[in-house]
Amino acid sequence: MDCRITTDSIDAAALANRVRKNSDGAVLLFTGVVRDHDAGRSVVSLKYEAYAEMATEKLREICSAVATQFDIGDIAIVHRIGELSVGEISVAIAVSAPHRDAAYNASREVIERLKREVPIWKRERYADGEDSWVEGTEPQVPEA
């Protein structure tokens, strides 16, 4: 379970290769990519920032939970931080599993939890020179 934050560009194919085991019949690789538009505005780059230690811990927690919840062989998540251009991979999630159902469900669970829980933020830079923090999701905090 390779679950981490990186400042390097992500080799998603290598990640998918690493999770595959001979007992697995399905490998699902999700990649989040910087796209050239958001909410109708033309985007040129995204700057990702993380509370790195906590984000790493959260990613590991998600990996462990998902591995318990679904019948999977292995899982890996890598999230990049720093300045990314259009077309660059911001996050890669690779899941291998004996059967496809678990692979799809686990992959989806990971990205949904990542977007709700992991302390990462992004600032969009627009073609017109402006930039702004992307509106995020209020993380769930345990009840008092």
Partner: protein, 97 residues
């Protein structure tokens, strides 16, 4: 940017105090103009107390009244009592992916 401030008024009778490190990220860092603060607080201070104290400081009014908070890298409720050496992070709405 690191700022050192104290929530203990001078000239008071000495009270026991705890030292906490406050981390600010993304929009909160931009609004407050600082990424780290080292604070002294009275023993028994809760996160709620810390927030109220910070919001009284110049330039820190922009911190929301009930932000998501992590204490020692775990999301924690606002009534968490802070201990010596705690790391308290204010977590703006998250936007990974």
């Amino acid at each position: 940017m690191v700022a050192k401030v104290s929530a203990l008024s001078e000239g008071q009778a000495p009270v026991e105090k705890v030292h906490v490190r406050v981390l600010l990220f993304a929009a909160y860092r931009d609004r407050l103009g600082a990424s780290e603060l080292d604070l002294e607080l009275p023993v028994g201070s809760s996160v709620t107390f810390l927030i109220a104290y910070l919001r009284e400081q110049r330039g820190a009014e922009a911190l929301p009244g009930s932000p998501a908070v992590a204490v020692n890298q775990e999301y924690a409720p606002l009534n968490t009592v802070l201990e010596e050496g705690d790391e308290v992070a204010f977590i703006p709405p998250v936007a990974g992916g």
